[in-house]
Point group: C2
Amino acid sequence: MPLTKYFETIAQQTETWLDQLVPQEDAYPPSIHQAMRYSLFAGGKRMRPMLAVAAFEAVSGQKAVGTERGAVMPFAAALEIIHTYTLIHDDLPALDDDELRRGKPTCHVRFGEDMAILAGDALLTLAFRILTDLQLFKGIPAQTVCDLARETAEAIGSLGTIGGQVVDLEYENTTDPDPAILEYIHTHKTGKLIAMAVRGGGMLGGAGEDQLSSLTEYGRRVGLAFQIIDDILDVEGDEKLLGKRTGSDKRMDKMTYPSVSGMKASKEKAVDLIDKAIGDLEMFAERAGPLSDLARYVAARTL
Amino acid sequence: MPLTKYFETIAQQTETWLDQLVPQEDAYPPSIHQAMRYSLFAGGKRMRPMLAVAAFEAVSGQKAVGTERGAVMPFAAALEIIHTYTLIHDDLPALDDDELRRGKPTCHVRFGEDMAILAGDALLTLAFRILTDLQLFKGIPAQTVCDLARETAEAIGSLGTIGGQVVDLEYENTTDPDPAILEYIHTHKTGKLIAMAVRGGGMLGGAGEDQLSSLTEYGRRVGLAFQIIDDILDVEGDEKLLGKRTGSDKRMDKMTYPSVSGMKASKEKAVDLIDKAIGDLEMFAERAGPLSDLARYVAARTL
């Protein structure tokens, strides 16, 4: 199931914003900016920006791309910058020790471990520089900009994304799989940022509390489904299509949905989450079309 | 030259804020919060908070500690959190590979390299959660809060602190010492955050452009003097007093002021910077007493 022109446009627009927001490769010192841009432009799908823009448009009824109401785009770029920082640090030898990402050598393989640590740090820092830049968020009240940045920081901190990564590391090689721990890992490690993409798009679109709750629930479900499907792909996926080696969860003795609940139950759980996520969008009626498409796209990667 | 009661109070107050702002050791997952707090409460001098509070008071004429005008304290805490993240990551085996910091094992020695990388990431993220929390910055306009967070991010990013660290790493083992490169390293690696502490304290105190320029210049000079004196102490300092091994610059073949300009010229440069920094404070008259004291304290560590 290919993504439509609508989503291609968002991905292209995100890359244009990223190119403008991240210092060029010759900015001093060049080595760090080369490393940052190498990982940032390594062919990501830009799914988080797509979710943010689709949520913004579902709420506001206005087009985000190529219009005056472009304020969701710096947020979309910041999400992708944050996502890239987490990948660079997760791939490090002291963490998951991955040498290949999207079919290319990982940042530390290409630039050295020291530069990869610093490039991740610099991307995280840059994300917050963008998220607090009132010039970029033209027309959005300063209070909303602060709230968005604060909620993003909460989503990716020690009680969010990083918490998930910590527990994931601690339960490597565990002999006693625990479904509750696994759900914590998945909802935090990937789920928090995906949910924040949707919620943040809604905040910038001017969503009320009811709308925000529904979007957050949709994001939580899509994020969890995404991770379950990642686990499934690590068993059944095609290395060429994925651009990375499969079977790494098994090699690292990681808890996964298939290993804890079995393959059949994992696929059923993913399908159920996607169905419910689409149900969460009811109040947005036809404006939620792109968000429904994205949920189906997540599922269609394998199921 | 001991610091007065005034500065002791700021340090204590900063630790109280840090204790409240950083999740407790039993917050899930506990391992990451233990690592974060271990490094944060390892006995730092809290010099950046002192600079921020002293600048706030010089501008506003109001006491920051124990009063309604406490809005500079979350900024002071965030500075210390950022400073701690840079120390944890700089100490990593892939970077400076230091095993001792303030007389205690470094974070990765105590908690493992994976946890140290993530603890640094989590501290950096937490700093921006704090810097964008309007509840904490009561009475400060949301626009000022955004500006403060954005300028802080600029100061510590790839064009600031991290840029300095990158160039520092690249010029290890250099056979061709370059004073201009050395000044770049020092003004960026340590100087940018120290200057930001002073400037941010002024912003929260309601400083006008003239006041901010003077404070920024003072901060730049004190920051550079601080780093030159650090270089001097690495040659002449007492390991027990410093809580870390001396001679590490020579072992790592790092460019330093003494190695590039000689010990005598380095001491003269530091003294000159401190004198000029105190001169930058003229417009604040007697309100700048604590900032002058801090400049003299930096110098008195060794000279």
